[in-house]
Symmetry: C2
Subunit: 316 residues, 2 copies
């Protein structure tokens, strides 16, 4: 890559060129060697966007809800970015691309950028890749960024919790209220959306969640998660979801929690990059002689593997 490529790409992305945004996010996905330069160039734009995480079990209607949220946000004139994160797959595709078809109405809207993302090749995995992709969209002028994670695995919960505001979607009749507790989702949700609210059992799910929120002790001044009913397929309740997001946003700003969350997000990102760098450096040692000399002495019983590991670290 020539010396001029990164500044040009970022300048074009800031002008709203979707191809340059796509290229930058691919660089994040693939762990491109020029990423430090990308990050350095994007640093001044940190914090310009509102980042909203959206997670929930398969089948609760995440894509439909995202689609409706994009529509509502566009109505208020805001530029929107969508990152659909699939931690389990080394390649994006399958369910995600299928889901994206439902978002086709936005593909011709220059105010919307939609992207599926995996973490193949990225040092530090999704914990590093997602915040960096967010930075790219931030740099490209997206005022709101929706990070949608597929499923409810540990990695996805982690990614969703890195947002300013985290939405957890539930649907009636899926035992989701209990599942949410098990998956540790109760702790990360700022807003619960009971989707498919016109279906039987929606009231029970709503009550279950409200009940569970009432159980835990809450420090005065802490945020009490809102519970909103919606039917994304019918476009119903989306205004309430947006209102809940705005209410949480106002709370974040007045309490100073916004800054705290972003620092937490940055800490996770920095730590993940540092670990990835150290892992790469250890890997490089395989090429050299330090590791093989230590291995020789361990195999010969001259030193133990812990002492050898300490020696190895000193050489980094």
């Amino acid at each position: 890559m020539s010396d001029r490529t990164v500044p040009i790409l970022i300048a074009k992305a800031r002008d709203g060129d979707p191809r340059s945004v796509a290229r930058l996010i691919s660089m994040v996905e693939n762990g491109d060697p020029a990423l430090p330069e990308v990050a350095a160039t994007l640093a001044p734009y940190a914090g310009d966007s509102q980042v909203i995480g959206l997670t929930g079990s398969p089948g609760v209607g995440k894509s439909t809800t995202t689609n409706e949220l994009v529509r509502a946000l566009r109505r208020s004139g805001r530029r929107v970015g969508v990152l659909a994160v699939d931690p389990s797959s080394p390649f994006t595709g399958g369910a995600i691309l299928g889901d994206r078809i439902r978002m086709q109405e936005h593909t011709t809207d220059p105010g919307v950028y939609i992207r599926s993302m995996s973490s193949r090749g990225q040092l530090g995995g999704l914990a590093a890749a997602t915040p960096q992709a967010v930075r790219v969209l931030e740099g490209a002028g997206c005022e709101v960024i929706l990070v949608e994670t597929v499923g409810v695995g540990q990695a996805e919960v982690e990614v969703a919790s890195l947002a300013d505001t985290t939405l957890v979607l539930l649907a009636p009749g899926m035992g989701d209220a209990i599942q949410a507790v098990k998956a540790g989702i109760l702790e990360i949700a700022d807003v619960f959306v009971v989707n498919k609210a016109d279906r039987p059992g929606a009231d029970a799910t709503y009550r279950d969640i409200q009940g569970m929120l009432g159980l835990g002790e809450r420090v005065p001044g802490d945020w009490r998660p809102l519970v909103v009913r919606a039917s994304a397929v019918k476009g119903e309740g989306i205004a309430d979801v947006v209102a809940a997001i705005d209410k949480h946003r106002a709370w974040l700003e007045t309490t100073g929690e916004l800054r705290k969350r972003r620092e937490r997000r940055a800490a996770v990102e920095v730590e993940a990059i540092a670990l990835g760098t150290l892992r790469a450096r250890l890997g490089n040692l395989r090429e050299g002689t330090a590791l093989s000399e230590l291995a020789f002495r361990v195999a010969a019983g001259e030193i133990d593997p812990y002492a050898a590991a300490d020696d190895l670290i000193k050489g980094l």
Copy 2:
């Protein structure tokens, strides 16, 4: 743990006390803080044992084969250790404990030590834990150590490949010959055992494997994997398996490959421990102020996360 505990445990393990061996392996599993001391005390006994890896898909008869191998090795008077490694489960149990019931005939034999092992809590995961558990059994005087891994995942292939001699079990009619190629098992096998050789399709499986071994180019002097037929349930062909293991062992010794393999195993172990240590040190930084100060500056857009990660690493 008192200062005297580790030396006493190891002295007792060397006297053949099974409880002390069990306690030491539990320390390995749990990532006990005293592990470096355990490793240092065991270092002089490195390389005393013959380590045999045994892997294959579920249902090919790994436990039955292990059981018969133990019996054959005991007949020749050798002390035997068995490590059944389950990388997928944070707790040993289920299939493994069920399988172990078939080994009950050995439980009263003081010359046999059988242990299921997971890698919960261990810095560096199985890549570090398995060689350390092998060291414990080595220190306890086991002349042969069988490392049995359940299934054919990447982690298991890796663990099995750390042995002096790696056996890959196949069974007829499971499409195993093709599966073995896909899983990268062809590269790690020193001996193929076509188990259930009395069943229909065993000849085809035998021919498939022989055919595939004929396809690849082989450097003169390299080991050509042996293919052995057996029926572990009937106790048939086990002598041939032992003969194949002995033949490979003789090759390892005459070519100097034994030393090379053990150095490779030591290198993997040292690297895994080093990475685990670095990860722990990064984790400790969370308690201090360095990471939070860097995160503050990243969130404020003053520096980028890569520069912050570099700063963090310098502080390690």
